[in-house]
């Protein structure tokens, strides 16, 4: 009886884990089958040809567009966010406090609600279907949260370290770049990975603002919904390749920054 009780949580969790794994099973099996179908079936010849055809075909450019959008958003958000987080963390004033409130407020605002005027504005300004300007819109949506987490990482750097450098005549810019930034590299990676994972998976913004040759993988993926004459195996291979970067990045960062991957820690405050 005691044995059952003690092992009950592990048993239940294993079942839950298996249930969570289920959707992936179909995807992975079908991606390696020659002619996979909706119905999961064993057998069929094993092949990696679908992966190679994705990497040689037009789908590669969709992944390239995703990389452009997510990479650009990540670089812009991290640089601008850390830069703004420094005075927000270091200079005490009332303005600074309200600034933080506004950032947190913007973190919570539903981005989908402002897509219509953004579309209107992009059409009027001639920005529509431009990856470059889409990156800036995505950066703006990522910045409030990114800056806020960057703030909490800079808070953790002791001021005394900087004060010593000011005596030696270093400027604020100098102490930010030479002292603070090297110490918050792990924190910057958290900001960068969080931003990248979100931007890489973003569907709605590019769906509205970008078309055809500029569309990222998420929008390409959408075109496969409800088509019943598609090659499921090839789409599954594409889906797997597209899903890989966020998972790999997350694993690298958690290994490196440590188990307490500060995503949730930062939200908790």
């Amino acid at each position: 009886m005691g044995l059952v009780r003690r092992n009950l949580p592990a048993g239940v969790m294993s079942l839950i884990g298996a249930a969570f794994l289920l959707p992936f099973v179909w995807l992975v099996v079908v991606a390696f089958q020659a002619h996979g179908t909706l119905q999961l079936s064993g057998g069929g010849s094993f092949t990696i040809s679908h992966f190679t055809s994705v990497l040689h075909g037009g789908l590669l450019s969709a992944l390239g567009n995703s990389l452009y959008l997510a990479g650009g958003t990540t670089v812009a958000t991290t640089v601008i966010g850390v830069l703004a987080a420094y005075p927000l963390s270091r200079f005490r004033s009332r303005t600074q406090r309200y600034f933080i409130y506004v950032l947190v407020f913007l973190t919570g605002l539903p981005v989908i609600a402002i897509i219509i005027p953004t579309y209107d504005f992009f059409v009027a300004a001639g920005f529509i279907n431009s990856k470059f300007w889409t990156v800036w819109f995505m950066t703006a949506t990522a910045l409030p949260f990114g800056t806020w987490i960057a703030c909490s990482f800079i808070d953790a750097v002791p001021r005394e370290l900087e004060e010593a450098s000011w005596i030696d005549g270093m400027s604020r810019w100098g102490s930010l770049l030479r002292i603070v930034v090297p110490l918050i590299v792990p924190g910057m990676c958290v900001v960068a990975v969080y931003t990248f994972v979100n931007a890489w998976g973003e569907f709605f913004i590019p769906f509205i603002l970008l078309q055809s040759q500029n569309a990222p993988a998420s929008v390409t993926m959408y075109s496969y919904f409800g088509q019943y004459d598609i090659n499921y195996s090839e789409v599954a291979a594409f889906a797997l390749l597209y899903s890989l970067p966020p998972v790999v990045l997350y694993l690298i960062v958690t290994r490196w920054v440590g188990q307490g991957f500060a995503l949730t820690g930062a939200i908790k405050g």
Binding site: G81, L109, P117, F137, V247
Partner: protein
């Protein structure tokens, strides 16, 4: 650390001197450093928010004569929106359903149960099952939608399996669209609540729980009298954040059901999209966006208040 540290008193004196002498220089530096953030956020977030409000008072469409020459029509869009039969109430009810089923039950409650059970699991189970759950969260949303779309489609693996289990054969996305999308959203989103709760659970001192155990509190009492009250702050933060996230969710439902069949899964975000981009009523869609913005703003303010009370917005020094 290569940089030497200062005696606290000298540091304080220095800080005072710097702050007097460099007040304006410091302000200039602060403005320069925050300028890029302010410019980008004002141009791409602040301006669209103001423009959302303005656009909702016009008759602008995507095509046709009012696309180029729109005019001010006052609150007409809102009148139309709040009139009965506009579909707004229907969408709000569906959004509430989605919120309760997929966010509060499927993510918060289920995430808590997972976090609670995981503490009593051996390391190997924790590592493997925890990774599977987190990977479900990391996968792009459109991929999650496609996986569940294919599983539940006619002839899909899960649809067949459920049929095999004795449940009448049906196309789940058509017969039960809200259950289908809620299931998918719970699967995808539970990791966030799970991570938040398991971090908070590990912060509870174990001797506190052991002491209650010694005093004769059974596991239900330990849970309801000690663990849940100690997690109340985290629970509140989790609920506010997943509310905002679910309200902002569009992709999963749009891709899986398109809001259908008919309008059976047209939650607010999908309703907004359909009016603005599928029916070309840009301005009318914006009026729905304003409703979303107002609800979002209420929860965002609640979030700020909670964080303030916890002291999470004060700079630590």
């Amino acid at each position: 650390m290569t940089t030497g540290t200062l005696h606290p008193r000298r540091a304080a004196a220095l800080r005072a001197r710097l702050s007097v002498r460099g007040a304006s220089a410091r302000r200039l530096t602060g403005i320069t450093m925050t300028a890029p953030l302010i410019v980008v956020v004002l141009a791409f977030l602040g301006w669209p928010i103001v423009w959302t409000l303005a656009l909702s008072l016009t008759n602008k469409a995507i095509t046709g004569p009012t696309a180029l020459h729109s005019s001010f029509i006052g609150l007409a869009n809102y009148k139309e929106l709040f009139a009965s039969g506009s579909g707004l109430v229907h969408s709000i009810l569906l959004s509430l359903y989605y919120l309760v089923a997929s966010a509060y039950i499927g993510q918060a409650l289920f995430g808590f149960v997972i976090a609670y059970l995981m503490r009593r699991c051996p390391y190997r189970v924790r590592a493997v099952v925890g990774s599977i759950i987190v990977v479900s969260w990391l996968v792009p949303e459109i991929i999650a939608a496609w996986m569940w779309f294919t599983l539940l489609s006619d002839g899909g693996t899960l649809a067949q399996a459920l049929h095999g289990a004795g449940i009448g054969y049906q196309t789940w996305l058509i017969s039960h669209p809200m259950i289908s999308v809620s299931l998918a959203n719970s699967w995808r989103g539970v990791a966030f609540s799970y991570l938040l709760f398991s971090a908070a659970l590990s912060d509870i001192p174990t001797d506190l729980i052991e002491a209650a155990q010694v005093d004769g509190a059974n596991s239900w009492r330990r849970l309801s009298r000690i663990i849940v009250p100690m997690l109340s702050a985290t629970i509140l933060v989790d609920l506010v954040l997943i509310t905002l996230g679910t309200l902002n969710d569009f992709t999963l439902i749009f891709a899986m059901t398109g809001g259908g069949p008919g309008t059976d899964s047209t939650v607010l975000s999908v309703f907004m999209y359909q009016q603005a981009f599928a029916s070309f009523q840009l301005a009318y869609g914006t009026a729905i966006a304003v409703v979303l913005l107002v609800v979002g703003a209420i929860f965002a303010v609640a979030y700020i208040r909670i964080l303030r009370r916890q002291g999470a917005l004060e700079v630590v020094r």
